[in-house]
Symmetry: C2
Subunit: 197 residues, 2 copies
């Protein structure tokens, strides 16, 4: 609908996740009206990120050098490894400030419908990393959905051979929520995992 | 939450309209995982658009040269000018293929709450453009909301002095809609603007 360069930008923006044709148009017009500086900063940030951000060689988290911020931090404990699906999950857990160990990022979850099997995830790397290491606990923090649960079950079975204690994050009622609005599965899990006071 | 370049990109993306912190993170991770080529194309498209796209000297629409695609098209009629708020409105009207005249883009609507008065819009340009020109009709196609209606009323008053017939797009029931779901104002307008069959 628009002339060359504007339509090209709308088309490129429209390929981003969660950006439909209307949003792409809205963003393009915003960038057209904004100061050159801001558009320039965005273009540079995209290139910079592609140049500089890699995945950590040890844990698979995002990193600006060989090791990520957490793997290169000497104050973190090597005893506990928390296994997550994605780098965003590392960020979410870091926000809680509850965990001072290391991470292992799988790069997804087992999802046969979309053709993702154990061999597509960094599971072999985890086994290699744990073999012979002084790890006292592996916490499996995959998502509490079908794929995440399947991955957790698979990992638990794999890790049994290494004789390292494995735990899974608790499922239950979200704090600040209303019991009556909880779905049945969550409420069922909350009963199952009830704790003595 | 993330290392340098990734967080910089998330921050820049978060400033775009309709992109919250969660979407910004999602888009950044998408760009991290995607092929270098696609990220490069997006960065280039932003710069290209800023370099190449300007506003048409005659009508204020987006343009890649002095005149926009419509103003430089000799097949369009000079007799009718359709006044709209934004370049996106030009695109919307062009999609109908109902209009073969020229446009005039105001660059917004009168909106005292946000401090936008007639002098902030391209109204003086419109008056200059119309003075002495052979125009048989001005169609006011500002949005059918408070600001658009106020702008239409203001323009109609201004144009009275030029003695050019002025019309306004019809308000009424949207085609394909349900009468019972129309709001009262729209239904009221549909009654007011009823046509003899």
């Amino acid at each position: 609908m628009y002339d060359g360069a504007l339509q090209d930008l709308i088309d490129e923006l429209g390929q981003l996740p969660g950006v439909g044709p209307k949003s792409a148009q809205r963003i393009a017009f915003y960038l057209l009206a904004t100061e050159r500086d801001q558009a320039e900063r965005l273009a540079a940030a995209i290139r910079d990120m592609k140049d500089k951000v890699h995945f950590c060689e040890v844990c698979g988290n995002v990193a600006q050098s060989e090791l990520c911020r957490i793997c290169s931090d000497p104050r973190r404990s090597d005893d506990i490894i928390c296994v997550v699906e994605e780098p965003k999950d590392v960020a979410a857990i870091e926000r809680t400030r509850e965990f001072r160990g290391r991470y292992h990022v799988l790069g997804g979850a087992i999802d046969p419908i979309n053709g993702i099997g154990p061999q597509d995830l960094r599971i072999q790397d985890l086994m290699t990393r744990l073999t012979g290491a002084d790890v006292t606990e592996v916490i499996i923090a995959t998502d509490p959905n079908i794929e995440g649960e399947a991955t957790a079950a698979y990992l638990a079975r794999m890790l049994r051979s290494l004789d390292i204690p494995v735990s899974r994050l608790a499922s239950g009622l979200p704090v600040g929520g209303d019991l009556e609005y909880a779905d049945e599965v969550t409420l069922g899990r909350a009963f199952e995992g009830r704790r003595r006071l």
